[in-house]
C-alpha cells in the first residue's frame, strides 16, 4: 500500500515537472483522481423515488352471516341500516347491541362508536374530533389526532414496517399503514408465537446434550 502510494506520488511529481509547474500539476492531479463508480448521495439535486403507504384494509361492509346462491357471504353497506336508525352516544361495546357487530372486541381507551364513526352520513365515513367528516382512506389523520408522537415518528421513518430502499435516489419505498398492525377497535399489538430461536450452544436443548462442559 505504502509502496504504491510512494510510486504514485513519484509519478505525479515527475509528470508535474514535465508539464511545467503549478497549472500542469493541478491538471494532472485531477486527472489522476479516480472517478467514483457511483455518484455521492446528494438529496438536494437528485431525483427521488416515491415513498408509498400501502393501502390499509378498509371496511367492505358488515357480513350478514348468510351466503348468496354462489356461496359468497352477503355483506351490507353501513348506511343500509344506519341511515334509518338513531345512533346512541352511549354505545361502547358490541355487547350493548341486540344485533350485528356481535363479537367485535372494543378495547380502545374510553372511545365509543361515534367517537370515530360519523353518524351523520350513516357511518359511511369517519369523524374527526372537531366534527369534520373524514373518508375511511384518510384514517391515519384520525389516528394522528390522539397519537401525535407515534405519527411524528411515523413521518420520520421511525415507526411502522417498511420495505424498499434507504437511498431514495436509487429506488422507492413501501410503508405500512397504522391499520396493518393495529386493529382500530383493539389497537394493542397482539401476542403471538415468535420464530424459533437459535439452536446453538446457548439453547437449553444443546447444552443438555453434547456439551463440552
Amino acid at each position: 500500500m505504502t509502496r504504491t502510494l510512494f510510486l504514485t506520488c513519484g509519478l505525479v511529481s515527475a509528470a508535474c515537472l514535465l508539464a511545467g509547474f503549478t497549472a500542469g500539476c493541478q491538471r494532472h492531479e485531477s486527472a489522476a483522481e479516480p472517478t467514483p463508480a457511483v455518484a455521492a448521495v446528494n438529496p438536494g439535486t437528485a431525483k427521488l423515488y416515491p415513498v408509498v403507504t400501502r393501502e390499509p384494509p378498509l371496511p367492505q361492509g358488515i357480513p350478514t352471516g348468510t351466503n348468496d346462491p354462489h356461496g359468497q357471504s352477503i355483506s351490507l353497506k353501513c348506511f343500509t341500516c344506519h341511515s334509518a336508525r338513531e345512533s346512541s352516544p352511549h354505545t361502547y361495546q358490541s355487547a350493548d347491541l341486540d344485533e350485528f357487530h356481535q363479537g367485535l372486541k372494543m378495547a380502545h381507551g374510553q372511545l365509543t362508536c361515534i367517537s370515530c364513526h360519523d353518524a351523520k352520513d350513516g357511518y359511511s365515513s369517519l369523524k374527526l374530533a372537531d366534527g369534520r367528516t373524514l373518508a375511511y382512506s384518510e384514517s391515519m389523520t384520525l389516528c394522528a389526532q390522539c397519537h401525535g408522537p407515534q405519527y411524528g415518528d411515523y413521518q420520520h421513518g421511525a415507526h411502522g414496517g417498511m420495505t424498499g430502499h434507504w437511498d431514495l435516489t436509487r429506488g422507492g419505498r413501501e410503508r405500512n399503514h397504522c391499520l396493518h398492525c393495529h386493529d382500530p377497535h383493539s389497537p394493542q399489538y397482539p401476542q403471538f408465537a415468535p420464530v424459533a430461536g437459535p439452536r446453538d450452544r446457548f439453547s437449553p436443548a444443546a447444552s443438555t446434550g453434547e456439551s463440552h462442559e
Partner: protein, 314 residues
C-alpha cells in the same frame, strides 16, 4: 557369523541376525513413517477440496480487478458444483459520502425474531443450527442486565414485564475484532462496515473472543442449505456460502445496502422498530432518530463507538 547358523533347517535365521540397534532403528523408522503419514493425512483430504488457485489466492484488498473477477467466477462455479445452484457473486463497493448507521426502538420491538429469521434466509446460514447474526434477548424491564436476559425464549411475545433487545454486529468505529485479527482477514470498510475475507481467514477465533457483543460466529461446518433455499444474490464480502472453519458476521447486508436497499432484518420487522440509513445525510431517518431520540449504545464504556443505536419512546 555369515555361515554360523545353529539351525540350518530354519533359513530365515540363516541371515545376519538383527542386532538390538538395528531393531530399534527399524521400529523408529516405521513409527516415524506412520506418524508422518498420519500428520499428512489432512493435507491429502484438504487438497481434494482446495484447488491450487484457491490456495494461492491473494488477500481481497490485494486482488486486481481482473483477478477479483476470476475469483468470483471460480466461486460461482464451485457453488454450482457443490450445491447445483446458479449464484451471482457481486462485490459492491462502499458509496462515497455514506456512513451506515442503524437504530432500534426498544419500545416497539416485540421480540418476534422475524429479523433473525430474515437474516438466516438472506445470509445463507446453516439450516440445522438455525444460525443468525441477530440474537434477540428477552430482558427484565427496569435495566439492561444481560445476565437476566434470555435469548432462547419460546413462548408468546411480548410478555408483560419484559422488553426485547436484538443484538447483532454493532459495526464499531473502533472495532476490537479488527485489532485482534493476526492476519488482517477482517477490516473496516469506508462506509463503516466491518467485513471478513472468508478466503483469508484462518479461523483462529481471536476476533470472536475480542468482540464484546458476541456478534461473530464460527463456521464449525460449512453451512448446509437445501439447494432451493440458497439465496443466489451473494456478495463476496457478505452472504456467500462460507467455507468450513472461518469466522462470519453481520455486514448490514452490504450486498443489499450498497445497492441502496434496506437490510433484510429491517424489511422483515413488522413493527418498524428498526431504522437504517446514511448518518451523513442530514435528511435521513437515522439522523432524525439520533438527533431527536434518547439513544444509547451498548457497552459505551468500552470505547468501541458502535454505529448501532438503541432508543426508546418517552
Amino acid at each position: 557369523m555369515s555361515n554360523g547358523s545353529a539351525f540350518p533347517s530354519l533359513p530365515i535365521l540363516d541371515q545376519e541376525p538383527t542386532g538390538r540397534r538395528g531393531f530399534l532403528k527399524a521400529c523408529g523408522a516405521t513409527l516415524g513413517l506412520a506418524a508422518w503419514a498420519t500428520a499428512m493425512q489432512p493435507l491429502v483430504e484438504w487438497s481434494q477440496e482446495l484447488s491450487v488457485d484457491e490456495f494461492l489466492q491473494k488477500h481481497y484488498r490485494e486482488l486486481k480487478p481482473a483477478e477479483k473477477q476470476a475469483v468470483f467466477r471460480r466461486l460461482e462455479e464451485d457453488c454450482k458444483k457443490d450445491h447445483g445452484v446458479d449464484v451471482t457473486i457481486s462485490d459492491p463497493q462502499a458509496i462515497p459520502g455514506v456512513q451506515f448507521a442503524y437504530a432500534l426502538n426498544l419500545s416497539v420491538c416485540i421480540g418476534c425474531r422475524k429479523c433473525a429469521e430474515a437474516c438466516h434466509i438472506e445470509n445463507n446460514h446453516d439450516r440445522a443450527t438455525n444460525n443468525s447474526y441477530i440474537r434477540v434477548f428477552e430482558m427484565e424491564m427496569g435495566g439492561i442486565d444481560f445476565e437476566k436476559g434470555d435469548a432462547t425464549y419460546d413462548h408468546p411475545v411480548p410478555q408483560p414485564g419484559k422488553f426485547y433487545m436484538p443484538v447483532q454486529c454493532q459495526q464499531c468505529e473502533n472495532p476490537p475484532c479488527v485489532s485482534a485479527c493476526p492476519i488482517e482477514a477482517t477490516w473496516q470498510e469506508e462506509d463503516g462496515i466491518v467485513v471478513v475475507d472468508y478466503n483469508w481467514c484462518i479461523g483462529c477465533r481471536y476476533c470472536e473472543a475480542a468482540c464484546p457483543y458476541h456478534a461473530r460466529r464460527f463456521n464449525w461446518e460449512a453451512p448446509q442449505i437445501p439447494a432451493e433455499e440458497i439465496n443466489p444474490d451473494q456478495g463476496y464480502l457478505s452472504n456467500r456460502i462460507r467455507p468450513q472453519g472461518v469466522m462470519e458476521k453481520c455486514t448490514f447486508c452490504l450486498h443489499r445496502t450498497r445497492e441502496g436497499k434496506m437490510p433484510a432484518c429491517l424489511e422483515a420487522c413488522p413493527t418498524g422498530a428498526r431504522v437504517f440509513g446514511n448518518i451523513l445525510d442530514p435528511n435521513s431517518e437515522i439522523r432524525w432518530v439520533v438527533e431527536n431520540k434518547r439513544t444509547f449504545v451498548l457497552k459505551e464504556e468500552l470505547g468501541t463507538k458502535p454505529r448501532f443505536y438503541y432508543f426508546f419512546d418517552e
